[in-house]
Subunit: 358 residues, 4 copies
């Protein structure tokens, strides 16, 4: 019963096998291997458009390098206050971006509202050199709080961003989950809705450590792409044996593998949601569109779960195991490796007699 993160499990066996296969023989180093070319070709197919891709090992590197490539040091990146780049990357965007600034925006379930964005962009930089200037909008889909942007929502935000001279970045660490949950195509959830750069994450969805930074419309983005290439090397993110990354990504994107993995995570998330909704005292506080639930657990239930070995994080991180003395707030994440039995056991423990606190 491990619901801590989609990072807690290893990679899919298929990914490990692909890495082993790719290990044979002498190949071009630093990304000049045939698998890397194949990955780029495959992504063009999946996204139905021309694009340029760079592979890196972590989501933090992917996001920060991408943003640094489209923002000057005096640029402002608009993001949700609970975005991964704002809360979980120890200032990586600021570091890679030479001291760029994140502007935190509000919104339910880590989704940015159009009005808030429009207002923030209008205010930003109005006093010229005295202020940092609008540079990028960073969205996350699936959001950090488990919610989903539709293509229309993305397009509306992207239009505001582009009108304000901002590039549109999408943190897609759980993009596969978003594709599956929405039933939309990868293209509709990205460039067709105005996304300029997508960080497509495989690590949380079957890979060991592989993220693809995708620049759409590469001719228009030539300067950003060149910048990215130098920043990646300079940031220590150009691995010498490039097959480490290309083999993972190649296997992950083969056929429907990547989507099937996400489909399982999402199904487990929905199974968990359905189960918990039936239990008095347990509340689901987010719009749990895919594999992430935020819940309120009565203290008695929480203690019983912990006693049975259930693993999950409390929210916020500074919350104690006693919460407010009545209940705790918890994040529950289902991964491609989560077995249905785990979900059922968890729900079962919640449902036992005496669950509700006195």
């Amino acid at each position: 019963m491990n619901f801590t993160s989609d990072n807690s499990f290893g990679a899919a066996p298929e990914i490990i096998e692909a890495m082993a296969r790719a290990n044979e023989g002498a190949l071009g180093s630093y990304g000049a291997d045939p698998l890397a070319a194949r990955v780029e070709e495959r992504l063009r197919e999946i996204f139905e458009t021309d694009l340029r891709v760079f592979l890196v090992t972590t989501g933090t590197a992917a996001n920060a390098l991408a943003l640094a490539s489209v923002s000057p040091p005096w640029g402002t990146v608009f993001c949700h206050a609970e975005a991964h780049i704002a809360e979980d990357e120890c200032g990586a965007p600021e570091f890679f971006g030479g001291g760029l600034t994140l502007r935190h925006l509000p919104g339910k379930d880590a989704k940015i509202g159009q009005e808030a964005l429009a207002h923030a962009i209008t205010e930003c930089g109005a006093r010229g050199v005295h202020q940092t200037q609008p540079a990028a909008l960073s969205l996350t889909n699936l959001t950090e709080k488990g919610a989903l942007y539709t293509p229309d929502e993305i397009a509306a935000l992207a239009d505001i961003a582009h009108a304000g001279r901002c590039a549109v970045h999408l943190d897609g660490t759980r993009f596969a989950n978003a594709v599956v949950a929405s039933g939309e195509t990868p293209a509709d959830l990205s460039w067709r809705s105005g996304v300029d750069i997508l960080c497509l994450g495989a690590t949380k969805n079957g890979a060991l450590a592989a993220e693809a930074v995708i620049f759409f419309d590469p001719q228009r983005q030539e300067a950003a792409i060149s910048s990215f290439a130098f920043r990646r090397k300079r940031g220590g993110h150009l691995v010498s044996k490039g097959r480490l990354l290309s083999a993972q990504m190649d296997a992950w994107l083969e056929g429907e593998f990547w989507l099937n993995r996400a489909a399982h995570s999402n199904a487990m998330g929905q199974r968990l949601a359905t189960g918990l909704r039936a239990i008095g005292g347990v509340g689901i506080t987010n719009d749990a569109a895919a594999n992430i639930l935020f819940v309120t657990l009565p203290l008695a239930i929480h203690r019983r779960l912990r006693a049975a070995g259930a693993a999950y994080y409390l929210e916020p991180a500074s919350q104690s195991e006693e919460g407010d003395g009545v209940s705790v707030r918890a994040r529950l994440v289902c991964s491609p490796s989560t077995p249905p039995e785990s979900v059922d056991s968890f729900v079962g423990l919640c449902a036992e007699n005496g669950a509700a606190p006195a």
Copy 2:
């Protein structure tokens, strides 16, 4: 009738004369002149304690260098969302601080509330290396919105900051106004209330371009002081003919000169407030403790003022001259050079018949 800024006027004649006097002969360069030593001595007197001082030409440099000296690149600086460092320095703290992060806090009239600070510090960095860490609290007194912190308020915030391993920085671009308006001593408004570093601004109060960065308790702050010295040079802020700065600061601090200047600004501000309070339709929206007023002006009055040549900025900067069609919001700043006649003319124009919009 210029109420745009305390920057719009030149320096006090006394300051220019002092610069002319100091210009004679060969002196040590790069701060090794006798006036610089005298300034440090004088500041020890004024603040009744040991300290170490560095002079620079701009408030932006003073603040950014000071914060960079006490925060690692992965540090968080807590400040008000409307602080000068957040809104008017084009990301200078982030630049000098190697990509440090500002955390914006709310509060009426740009004053940070104790609860908001305590909460923000507790949340910050709770997930270890995944998050930037508490590094500094930055206050401004007089605040950007014209309000005043009392020594007790500063001490309460400083206690929270220190308990959270934060240094306390005070942007004192209008510190003289705060001293005069509060009736407190410089010591009580700074180190005795827990301030570690004070950026004491003379530029807005009579100097041409001179700011003093003061480190209290210099033995304890030895590392920050050494860091500051290198950062100042490396930032291009160590002027070769150091007397440029030391002569200004020496003259400004002589006797009660610096306080007398602020007393005049404050008196003009209060005269303006008193005048405007008597006028129907004009509203003062801030706690105008010294020389800065934020007001709502009916459109008819605003047009009449503009027609008469009155100069002031609208708030926010992106607001049009028509405001919301009914009124505009304006910032009115009185300077050491503001004559009472200007104030009275301004009030007179506001008060004319027909002032109130239909």
Copy 3:
């Protein structure tokens, strides 16, 4: 006949198998897995001392993060002009180090001479804040030009460095080759000779992508270690599924595996050297102590090798395939995967009749 780099081949099968084994089950993420702890313990054994280790994926990240942790932005890092950090990392040390400065030193075969170092340190920073200050000495062993530092040589340089308030960093991307070639212990080639931080590279010697940054005497280096931890995350180098790295390093350090791999590379290098020394017209220009040779190849031999498919880089990188019209300068690197037959074929091609230019 691939002598381009020790990066051109995949990982050792043992490493891939270890990664597959480590892939099972849910483990702590971000380095909190049991293998990571075991790696640290094993390194303590190998180096016969207490230490603290961080794993990263690339040598560039290892070096740059290490140097940034011991140098302020106004620090100078002394290194050989042909060091990897100076020539092959696209300014990564400057980037991670907030704009630190590398000072290039001369010396045969990329070895720094004691006198050159002593002189450079003495000159550096003599004018106080006007100049960057001595911060670190960076050595490489085996050097980029294939030569070896003895423990005595390292100790002499480290003494000079420490006397000049510099930390001593060792780029050990080929440290295993140095241990084998010298017959010295890992301890004698590192901390016993004054090395403070060792970047121990496994990638060029059997791993897929794994480098260990080792801080010796961890209590003394507590500040640098804490700085490293934040910089690693902020640099996007803290991989979520930490087992990716710990599994590689654990397998690589098991028994004599790491040394056996280097022993093979070195043996191939010496076999190549012996073969080439017997051939007229071919000159070995470096002190080829292990697996790297720099050679002058007559043009006729070079063409014959190329025609037969031999792969190697010309030096400098900007040299054309025609060299100076008479000969080319080439770098030949033997890897753990280089078969003796490759070496013998290469030598055989060189030795054919007509090899020597007219």
Copy 4:
């Protein structure tokens, strides 16, 4: 007898008077004053071309901001190993440039040779993303070692730089001295010879603290100019009371004032050179084209000068007052304030009986 630096004296009285005059009344702040516009117009006259100018207080800020505006963080700036940016700015170019790299070139009297530059640019960046890329050539005229580049020499270097995709920056801290010493026009010594950005220094030549960063061909350099504007503010170098700078520069550029000042410094330098050449044992080691001499002084003479109160710096900075026990190497700088009597006294002391060491 102060020959330490052209910084040791205050400003010319004319400059102080101009500052006092400009101090009257309310003016636009942050560079929006009429004097700033007049300075730009005057510079167009002097340089006989269109240009865009920014004023800052220090040469370090001028150089570092200029270089950062034309180099990416992964750029290499080619400069002489003894250039001010390499030796006296504490890494300011690296700081402002986000970790850019300086490549030190050799050459007599701090003049860069064409062959050395051509070679360095060709080698630089040949391995693509693994290396920093050519970005700018930085020259200094008058050089730090007192020598002069002719327009032809500048043009030859600029041609090499431009062919290698480098912008050409000229550190003109003593540009006035170069104009006077060469008899060439400001235009011929700058843009007509290929200079893209000139940092024109007034501080060492009569101003208190004023440097003009001049972008020639402003339409072509639009991106660099915009970058500069933000970097200046963000670097804390946009002074609020801009008249501080514009008044100095305006007065300095009026008529022939700036050139007359330099003419005096140069004449004093030549008077000193003529005097010393006649003295046995004293050697002038540089090509002293203007106001800077590097000399070897026998120890007896050096002691006699010191005893008489002569002030000058020894070279290198780390040299002791005893030099090598036989002689010391000294730098002698004449300033606009150096009286002929000082020169004559200095020469006289050197010439006294017993001057030559035993």
